[in-house]
């Protein structure tokens, strides 16, 4: 006890603070713009090869950004968000299972190819409604927030999905990596707020 009282707490520091690299907003912008220009030049030079490489190269990082943000924000105890996480994890499980089963059922000749768009549209509808339910549940946890507009938007997306299921699925494939940009925006807001303005300007540019 006596030794514990003599511990010098004045010199204690967070271990990672000293090793953290300091990059100012201008350098961050230069890196972003430089990367975009190099990517554009490479895509112009070797369009097919770069497109294949970029799929494999960036499929990992954007999923890593999202997973990292999700793990950082995942609470140790769900508390009053228990129902939210139950719906979230149940939806992830069921939608993943259905996504795996759809091709298997198709190749097993369970249904004809003519019904394939309907099956895709059904899966897309479940995904949209699941996301809408999560947004509504999250909105109820915040005071003075009316996120009821999510319902008409979700139903409108469902209608568009049923009009053109294949195009909607293709749009999901191309749009879902952009969600990582939104995750990165939220991540920067918490960890590097000085970069946020530069980041948004670069995105707009």
């Amino acid at each position: 006890m006596e030794r514990a009282e003599k511990i010098n707490i004045g010199v204690w520091r967070e271990p990672r603070v000293g090793t953290r690299t300091h990059v100012n907003a201008r350098a961050f912008a230069a890196i972003l713009i430089g990367s975009a220009c190099v990517s554009a030049a490479l895509a112009t030079w070797l369009p097919l090869q770069v497109s294949i490489v970029s799929v494999f190269l960036f499929a990992g990082p954007h999923n890593w950004f999202e997973a990292r943000y999700f793990l950082m924000r995942l609470p140790a105890r769900f508390g009053r968000s228990r129902n939210f996480f139950i719906v979230a994890f149940t939806g992830i499980g069921l939608l993943t299972l259905a996504y795996i089963l759809l091709p298997a059922l198709y190749y097993a000749n369970i249904w004809s190819g003519a019904n394939w768009p309907n099956a895709i549209a059904g899966w897309n509808t479940l995904m949209i409604l699941w996301i809408g339910a999560l947004v509504l549940m999250r909105g109820r946890q915040k005071a003075n927030r009316d996120w009821f507009w999510v319902l008409p938007v979700a139903f409108a997306l469902c209608a568009l999905n049923w009009l053109a299921p294949e195009l909607f699925s293709l749009a999901i494939v191309y749009v879902h990596p952009l969600v990582a940009l939104w995750f990165l925006d939220r991540h920067l807001r918490r960890t590097k707020p000085e970069w946020l303005k530069t980041y948004r300007r670069c995105l707009a540019w």
Binding site: T125, F148, P152, A156, W162
Partner: protein, 192 residues
């Protein structure tokens, strides 16, 4: 002998009647084969007073599209055509459009107190989206295709061209090509 002769004649008469009776049996009704639309293109019909044979001219681009459509005949026609032939998708899309408009109305009424320009702009955006979707499903369809073919007989006699839309269908069998023109009988001023 006489009895045998009569019996023979009777049998021959019976056989002959059987042949005639068999000839009277109607041919089995052949169910008309429904063609499968694989491509929608345009067609121009014209006459050639100096020609000896009827000619069918197909551009290289159309032939290429035709070959691709025939190869992918599992996917019949364009997105609009598939949607028009899929009642399930039309019903589901219409149901969700109805729900979207209904809930948008509820949301708009609920947010009447704190209504602002952004909300109104969002409503207009949704309305524009539905307007575009309506255009896609051809709710504002133009006149039917047969209108373009109404003057075909007169144009052929006058040596003029007549252009209109045409659906290219794949029909089983090895029959000749058949061009079906949707001509409606029009009554003259003095006809009843």
């Amino acid at each position: 002998m006489k009895r045998t002769l009569i019996l023979t004649l009777a049998v021959c008469a019976l056989l002959a009647s059987a042949i005639f009776a068999f000839a009277d049996i109607p041919r089995p009704k052949s169910t008309p084969v429904q063609g499968k639309t694989i491509l929608y293109s345009g067609l121009t019909v014209t006459s050639d007073p100096k020609g000896y044979e009827a000619r069918l001219q197909i551009s290289q681009g159309t032939l290429k599209h035709l070959q691709e459509a025939a190869a992918n005949s599992g996917n019949d026609g364009s997105m609009v055509q598939r949607l028009m032939h899929s009642s399930t998708r039309t019903i589901m899309a219409g149901t969700f459009m109805f729900l979207a408009i209904s809930f948008a109305g509820i949301w708009f009424a609920r947010s009447a107190e704190r209504r602002n320009n952004k909300a109104i702009a969002a409503v207009f955006l949704v309305a524009i989206v539905f307007g575009l979707a309506t255009v896609i499903v051809r709710a504002n369809a133009g006149p039917p295709g047969y209108i373009r073919w109404q003057n075909l007989p007169q144009s052929l006699m006058d040596g003029k061209e007549t252009a209109g839309g045409v659906q290219i269908e794949l029909v089983p069998g090895d029959d000749n090509m058949k061009l079906i023109i949707p001509l409606r009988k029009t009554k003259g001023p003095g006809e009843e």
